[in-house]
Each structure stands twice: as C-alpha cells, then as structure tokens.
C-alpha cells in the first residue's frame, strides 16, 4: 500500500515538474492561437514517462498480491474472519471486503459465479487475494471453493463389502476413503509407467495409493472422505 502511495506521489510530482518545466520553456514560442496544454498532451516524452510510471505502479500492485485460504469463522460488517493452518500453527486472518472494489465469486466446477458477501457462511472455504498487512487482507477478490485433501500412503485394508480403503500415510495418519461410482480409479502400469483406468477388484493391501478428495467435516469419522480420484502404484513395482 505504501509503495502504491509513494508511486502515485512520485507520478504526480514528476508530471507536475515536467508540466511546469515544459510550460516555462514553451511559453515564449506560444502564439495567441495555440495553448500550452495542447503541446504538453502531444509531447511523446511525457506520454512515455506516464506509461512507464503506470507500468511500474501496476507491477508494484502485482507484487503486493498474496493469497490466503481458510475456513470462515464469522462474517460481519463487511469483513470475513478465516481460520487457517500455517507451519502447523492455527492462525486467523480478517478479510476486508470493499463493497465497490472487492469482487466475490463462488467456484462451481470449472466456472465461477458472482456472489454477495451475504452468500458467504461460516464453515465455507474461501481464498482471498490482495495486499496483506499482518493479519488483515484488503481483498481485491474472494473465491468460495471446496477444500481438497491430496495425500498418499500404503493401503492397510480393502473392504470389498462396504467399498472403502484404509490408507496409512508416512506421518502415521490413517484415512478411510469411500470408493463411490463417481470415483476415478487409476493404476500405474509397472512396465510403461502409464496411468490406466482400473477397478476396485485390482486394488490390494500393500499397494501405494495416491488420492484426492473434497475435505468435508465429519463429526463421526474425522479422516473419512469420499474419494474423488485415486491412483494405485502396485507394490510389485518396488519388488522388481
């Protein structure tokens, strides 16, 4: 923000300086029919300078952009408080939503739909982009999206009755993934390393499973999700 103010001030001063200098040098040559402002407007040096400063301001604005994502804790008075995890620590950010400047969207599949601040509810997952000062985000744009979990681990159980798979990750967290009709199931060909479509019957304990799922909050089973996509790396690959 400070950079922007500084850049605008610099631009104003430069333009003022150039105009004054130009006006002073041009005045004797000005006839009664031509105006000095018309000459300044046409001056290519001033135009170039304006463009350079404008580009620099745009560049600085872009550098200031940071994105933060997290779960909505509360929404009130034009601001959204989100909770996020950074370096294993829980942290809260306040997203300031400007009624005229901030754009709000909900991501639906591959498209986005414009929404209002009233459409953002607690427990929604949001991504805010804009200049960040300490724990405040002056949002330029806010997206409401689904939070995803992307993980991998060794398969410890394949339940062929209830169609779920249990996976143990490297940090010893156990996840239960429900395999549904919409779940995309892939298997790595151990000879070609190509990713091929597969079925539930070919998955076995000891294989490595990579999975992605929408991170829903379940009080009953904390680490149980409906798998969106799974990729199996057969254990035979590592026994070659």
């Amino acid at each position: 923000m400070k950079k922007e103010i500084l850049s605008f001030t610099l631009l104003a001063l430069l333009l003022a300086g150039v105009t004054v200098t130009h006006a002073q040098t041009e005045t004797p040559a000005v006839t009664g029919t031509s105006s000095p402002s018309a000459n300044v407007k046409e001056d290519p040096d001033v135009k170039l300078l304006k463009e350079k400063v404008a580009n620099k301001v745009a560049e600085l604005r872009k550098q200031d952009q940071t994105a933060k994502s997290g779960t909505v804790v509360s929404v009130k008075d034009g601001s959204v408080i989100i909770s996020t995890v950074e370096d294993s620590d829980q942290k809260q950010y306040t997203i300031t939503v400007d009624g005229t400047l901030t754009k709000l969207y909900r991501i639906v599949g591959a498209t986005k739909k414009e929404i209002k601040i009233g459409d953002i509810k607690p427990d929604n997952y949001v991504i805010a982009s804009g200049p960040v000062a300490d724990t405040n985000i002056q949002a330029n744009v806010v997206y409401v999206d689904d939070p995803y979990i992307v993980q991998s681990g060794k398969i410890t159980e394949v339940n062929k009755t209830d169609y779920y798979i249990k996976v143990m990750t490297s940090d010893k967290t156990e996840y239960t993934l429900d395999i549904e009709s919409s779940t995309k199931q892939f298997l790595m060909n151990i000879k070609t390393l190509e990713v091929e479509r597969t079925g539930f019957s070919k998955i076995k304990e000891g294989d490595i499973m990579h999975f992605s799922a929408v991170k829903t909050v379940s009080e009953k089973d904390k680490n149980r999700y409906a798998a969106g996509k799974i990729l199996i790396v057969p254990q035979e690959y590592f026994l070659k």
Binding site: Q65, I107, I127, Y143, V150, L193, H210, S212, K229, L239
Partner: protein
Amino acid sequence: MKKETIIAIVLGVTFGVVVSLFMVSRTKDRQLQNTKTLTKETKITPIVPLNSVQGQAITITQPMNGVIVSSKSVVIKGKAAKDSLIVIQSPVQDIIIKNDKEEFSATMSLAIGENVIHISVYPKDQQGKGQEKELRVYYLDEQ
C-alpha cells in the same frame, strides 16, 4: 697450526655431528612410539556409517508455495535422487515420471482457485518408502 691438529678437529666435529644426528633420530622415534600409542586409543572413535536409506532429499525449485498464477498450468521443477519414481498429483491431474538425471520437470494443469499439489518421490531400491512435498498454487484469473 699443525696439519694433524686440523684433521683431528675436523674428525672430532664430524663425529659430534653424526652422534647428535643419531640422538635426534632416536628421540623422534621414541616420540613417534608414544604418539602411536595415543593414536591407537583414538581409533576407538566410532565411525559414522553412511546412511544410504535416507538418500538425497527432494527439492522443489519452482514454483514457490502459495504463488498466484494467471495461467491454466504451472511448470514444476525440482531435484531428487536419480532413477526415482516421481508422482505429482492434484485433484485435476496425475503425472508419473522417472528421472534419468537429478533434475526433473513437469507441466501441471490447474483448476481455478486453490490447487493442492502433492509430490511424492520413491527413490530406487527403497521398497516404496518415499519423500513428500506439498505445494499450494493459486490460479486466480482476477487479482
């Protein structure tokens, strides 16, 4: 001075030099023997064996975690132990590569919003024990 006297002096000095050199070398030998005794004790110092299980740690050189991009794909570059199996996954795409060199590179498609990209590296001969890294890349068409 008589010739015999000069010869006697020269012989005496030479003899003295020889004896002193002999004494010096003996003293050095003794010192060396003492040092050797000490060195034997230092041999007990345990030698740290090379931990071949750990191997080279995975490094992601590009992109930075939390980066905002305005294009539909991002190039992921990094370093890992040679001949590793590298699995790069996101909710959008899965990429599997085997790196002939330490450096690897892959172009990943992005979905609008937050993209969680999980990178797993399985070094050769490690029975499926891998290293993992997670990146968050934000594809925001409006900033």
